[in-house]
Symmetry: C2
Amino acid sequence: MDTINFTRGVPANESFPLDEVAAAAIDALKARGPAMLQYGPSAGFQPLREWIAQWQGVSADRVMTGNGSLQIVEFLCLALLKPGDVVFTENPTYDRTITMLRRHNIEVVGIPLESDGPNIEALEAAAAKHKPKAFYIIPDFQNPSGTTCSGEKRRKVAEIAHKHDFLLVEDAPYRPLRYRGTEEPSLYSIAPERTLFMCSFTKLIAPGVRTGFIIGRPDLIHKLAKVAEDTYISPGYLAQGITYEWCQRGLLQPQIERLKKLYLPRLDACLAALDKYMPGAVDARPDGGFFISLTLPEGVLTSTVRAEAAKRGLNLSDGLAFFPNGGGERFLRLPFCALTPAEIEEGVRRLAESVDASRGR
Amino acid sequence: MDTINFTRGVPANESFPLDEVAAAAIDALKARGPAMLQYGPSAGFQPLREWIAQWQGVSADRVMTGNGSLQIVEFLCLALLKPGDVVFTENPTYDRTITMLRRHNIEVVGIPLESDGPNIEALEAAAAKHKPKAFYIIPDFQNPSGTTCSGEKRRKVAEIAHKHDFLLVEDAPYRPLRYRGTEEPSLYSIAPERTLFMCSFTKLIAPGVRTGFIIGRPDLIHKLAKVAEDTYISPGYLAQGITYEWCQRGLLQPQIERLKKLYLPRLDACLAALDKYMPGAVDARPDGGFFISLTLPEGVLTSTVRAEAAKRGLNLSDGLAFFPNGGGERFLRLPFCALTPAEIEEGVRRLAESVDASRGR
């Protein structure tokens, strides 16, 4: 078997609804071509804003679309934060968000993450100490850990945010991809006036549409849209118009069902292989999303395992970048969605071999 | 006649090659759908980079594409400049660039612009005084003035840049839209190792594709691509894949010819109306691009004329934002491309009336 990549959290190529996107492109350009091709409001292509608003059960003035949600984090930095501000993240968290916050000279403080969400005592203590402006949190199928925050902890996070007056930035790209079990309430549903909820079509249609969105208080959305206008005048209306046409044909729900059918066997293959080759290694068993994470045995470093894995045709990612304040030397993230069950089984087998070869080194 | 907008520099809706874009979308997704929909290198969709490289006569490692060229200015700020650096612009210049530079705490110094390009003595003196890191210049059919820099001044600008060791950022979105006369050499062709040349498909296909590009030294392109990756991972590959398919079908040159046929009569209508209703008002008579500019008579302010014009169903833009260091109280930009010749004639007639009504006020 060829090289196996447990590296980046990308969707499976075979999941892309190519023919549907092509058909949507034709009809979208026929129905509203000039609007899709001209400049327009920076908050996004209006029909798409309205469709998302209806989908999410909010008013359209609470929705801004952008070219992927990472850049929306940049707009948050520019519109709502200033250099020297403190922002909390989970520890570990999405590495690109850490890079983005630091680019804007935001101080990033990581809150220890447990299998059911952030450690609440640590959050409370850190809030009192650091007076953060915001908590960037990925409550569903977290990147990189795969954990989901419990309903109880969500309510406590919202309480602490209220008590210490900080914003919640809820990054939820994996939320619609729950393969089993029961959905927890979004932070936005618990605290709509202090939560900015972000989601994206990257994991639902494809990264190439580069269309993410944020939902929040109209006054905050207005500030974000001003910064967006100063950055790129308008987001990618051609892609947003195609995305809108695809959505309004009712294709999102069937696509989500197809994704669940495609990804659940991959999740199960990954959990089964880990149980078989590395029993006890998994801390949290996710019910959705893209990631399972491990803590390697005492004395075994991810960097050593990566080198051993490379010899065995297995590419792994460094774990360090996910930890804003150090640590993560034994952390390993396994993105399972873009591999077949057979590749996953073989990949985990090679991983276990690589871990064994790394012991005592 | 309805309200006439001499406000924003947008292309004409009727110029968009709607059917061609739709056909390109279908075939592009058929031919390379997964690559267009997946994540990929931040420097842009590789086939498009290569096509632009061939078009512009450079190697592909000298080309980066992005979501419109304004945002590429942001990447320049992040990758090559630091807060407190001085950047020169023409005075007046594109207002959004001023806003972008200032957002990054760059000090913007305007170099007086004449009908044949920047005042060379002023540039030389300012270079000696300010030690700028870069000169952002729009040599062809400048925004907002409509002027084109002479060949002689281009060579002098390059000499001064060399002598004082600063970069030239050549923003050239209107360069392919020369309706008559002879093209001057690009700054990039004169000084390829210190010029970053920017152009865009916004004015050639449509703003909705949000695809601009920058050409320069591979080491600089590499730094820009890193910043782009940290900002949005990949640019809009769906739109870039469609743009590539459209380009490689040989549709760009015929489209440019169509644009010239559409816009030349509008330029001529604007010049003729100004000669008729406001003789002597035009400083430079452009041979291409989107803009003609005026300096209003002594004692007549643009702000007053705007208010008078609004009463007459004519919307004008404020001139002040184009001037980085003050001034521009009597400046007026007329974007003529998105209006018919009849609207232009009537718009200029209303303008002349508004100017008359503003005299002595």
